[in-house]
């Protein structure tokens, strides 16, 4: 038999590998002969796979739900809102607005005035937030639906916009005047009285699914808002091409603002929500991740038993000139192969489960409690990377613990086994 044939007849291509990899490859194959070690290795692979897939599914569910919540909330949030210093000269404000409109990325810039007041509906009165707008309805009142009269008459050019849900509940008709009342007093011959205006109903915007039934938001022309609340606390609302662009544009606007002005992006405006969402995801990740160390223990046990079973062989290999590092690497590669099998199987299983659950809407939820009638799942590259790195890291740690034992044997001790 020639050397070339012999090299090719070695049963596997593994013989071309460096020695530690060769050792790992052969022990991985031979593991099938040792039923107990094989069982433990299978348990380790299974445990790591279950932990990994659970992490993938849980993070996909949270990402899906959070994405829905975020989208719903952000459609009702200005991208950038600038609060001008109190008592600022309107002429100076106009000049500033001209300069800010010229900044790259700014699509529109308009004044808004926020205040709280009451709306009289029939014989009842409800409190709500009132937003005075300049020009057209701001984008954070999504999907505007102009109200039309019975004859298809167009709605008033500057009117009151109400959320679709309360508008339907109140039965408002196009052009119907609605009385808005402000707590800011106006002086009358009878002393201070609340300011009030009557504004015609112009249309509806889409009420967010996450809005509470008692949460009321109304948009009214800026002039009417000034009459109700005064001109103090005037803000500028800036719209850009998108949410990430808004953050960049905000950086450009900030240095141009006068002292005392305050700029808030959609991120700052919703900071408590985003913090809560991030916290929820982190806590869930840590809770579910606890499965992985338990599975990693099984991996340590399987490898430690294998090291004990191979003690005599380790001794002989050391006598042949293999270094402690060679033995450590050999068993580390073996453990990594077992762990990688678990991680990859878990990633595949979890991703498939998330896709199936989302595609066929298999997890239902009471819509009146959770805003959605099914749980959406969303696989995000970042989540998958975090799962792969964390479970892979835990596997590596478990492997190194066991591999150190293989390296710790002095040749003579191992040979005496």
């Amino acid at each position: 038999m020639s050397a070339v044939r012999a090299a090719g007849s070695l049963g596997t291509r593994a013989w071309a590998l460096p020695f530690p990899l060769l050792l790992a490859a052969r022990y991985l194959r031979s593991g099938r002969r040792d039923a107990f070690v094989t069982l433990l290795a299978a348990l380790a692979v299974g445990g790591i796979a279950i932990g990994t897939s659970a992490l993938v599914v849980v993070l996909a569910a949270l990402s899906g739900l959070q994405s829905f919540l975020r989208d719903d909330v952000l459609t009702r949030t200005p991208q950038i809102e600038i609060t001008l210093p109190s008592g600022w000269d309107p002429a100076a404000a106009e000049t500033l607005m001209q300069r800010l409109r010229a900044v790259a990325g700014v699509r529109s810039l308009s004044r808004v005035l926020r205040g709280r007041g009451w709306v009289r509906v029939g014989s009842g009165v409800r409190a709500g937030e009132m937003v005075g707008y300049e020009g057209s309805l701001p984008a954070f009142f999504p999907a505007p639906e102009p109200a039309r009269g019975p004859g298809g008459e167009p709605p008033p050019a500057a009117g009151l916009w109400v959320g679709s849900a309360p508008a339907a509940a109140w039965g408002l008709e196009a052009g119907e005047p609605v009385e808005l009342i402000s707590p800011r007093p106006a002086l009358s011959p009878f002393g201070p009285v609340p300011s009030a205006v009557r504004i015609p109903f112009a249309g509806t915007y889409r009420t967010g699914r996450t809005e509470q039934p008692d949460e009321l938001r109304l948009a009214l022309p800026l002039a009417a808002a000034v009459r109700l609340f005064g001109s103090q606390g005037m803000r500028l609302s800036v719209e850009t091409a998108g949410l990430s662009e808004a953050l960049m544009v905000a950086d450009r606007l900030l240095p141009m603002l006068p002292a005392g002005a305050h700029l808030a992006t959609w991120r700052e405006l919703n900071r408590p929500l985003f913090f809560a969402l991030r916290l929820e995801k982190s806590v869930m990740f840590v809770s579910v991740f606890l499965i992985v160390p338990v599975a990693a223990m099984a991996l340590v046990t399987a490898l430690t038993l294998l090291v004990a079973a191979k003690r005599g062989e380790i001794g002989m290999l050391r006598a042949m000139g293999a270094t402690a590092g060679d033995m450590r690497r050999g068993f580390a590669y073996l453990g990594l192969a077992i762990g990688a099998a678990g991680v990859l199987a878990g990633m595949g299983l979890g991703a498939t489960a998330a896709l199936v659950l989302d595609r066929w809407r298999l997890v239902s939820a009471p819509g009146n409690v959770y805003f959605v009638d099914h749980l959406p799942f969303r696989l995000e590259i970042g989540d998958l990377l975090i799962v792969a790195l964390s479970t892979g890291g835990m596997t590596l740690l478990a492997t190194l613990v066991a591999a150190r034992r293989a390296a710790a044997f002095e040749p003579v001790e191992a040979l005496r086994a």
Partner: protein, 232 residues
């Protein structure tokens, strides 16, 4: 160090080694002196537990002495680092143990190739070294047999090939026939002596068997922790 298979002289002076046995300390070697010329063959005999294997382990750099020195080819090996010792063993020393210590997951050819693979040689180069050796010991038809498929004598023949595949300057055999029936023991011992002579390797053979020991030429007895020449 010889890496070309050239035999090396071995010198050991004042070797001491003791082990802890519970609270007691057992002194196994109490100042062993040994001097072997390059290519010389020597047998070490002695009762069980007298320290023959311990001495072999010290000469083979598998263990370190409590006191004394070991020089192989004029180089103090007891001072080398663990990494340097591993490389030294791989290139310079071949071991044959009583229990063949073949790797059960590898076949006969792969077992013999293993020291060459540890040394970083390619699979083809390792096979080129291993095959002729196995053919020399009559194992050409058993290359792809695993240790569990071989007889005791065959396993020991494979173990001898493995010890010689790197053409070591020093061959250390610890009871190489101790686990074999008389007929197989005779075959294996003859083979060992023949290959040692052919390769011109310096050899130390530890054995219980005085008849086999005498065939090595020089016989040293280990008793009371010291070596002394033995005559027939």
């Amino acid at each position: 160090m010889s890496e070309s298979g050239e035999a090396l002289a071995v010198e050991a002076h004042g070797l001491e080694k003791s082990y802890r046995d519970g609270a007691a300390r057992v002194r196994v070697l109490a100042g062993v002196d040994l001097s072997l010329a390059a290519g010389e063959r020597v047998a070490i005999v002695g009762p069980s537990g007298c320290g023959k294997s311990t001495l072999l382990h010290l000469l083979g750099t598998l263990d370190r002495p409590d006191a004394g020195t070991v020089s192989i080819g004029g180089r103090r090996v007891d001072r080398l680092s663990a990494r340097a010792l591993a490389r030294f063993r791989n290139r310079t020393i071949g071991f044959v143990f009583q229990f063949h210590q073949l790797l059960p997951d590898f076949d006969a050819l792969e077992n013999v190739m293993m020291p060459a693979r540890v040394a970083g040689h390619s699979a083809a180069e390792a096979a080129r070294r291993a095959e002729p050796l196995l053919a020399q010991v009559g194992m050409a038809e058993r290359l792809d047999h695993f240790p569990s498929q071989l007889s005791g004598g065959e396993r020991q023949r494979v173990a001898i090939c493995r010890a010689l595949v790197m053409a070591p300057a020093l061959l250390l055999a610890d009871e190489p026939t101790g686990n074999l029936d008389p007929a197989s023991a005779e075959q294996v011992f003859q083979l060992l002596l023949r290959l040692q002579a052919e390769h011109g390797t310096t050899a130390v053979v530890v054995t219980h068997n005085p008849v086999l020991a005498r065939r090595c030429g020089r016989v040293l007895g280990l008793d009371g922790g010291r070596l002394a020449p033995q005559t027939a």
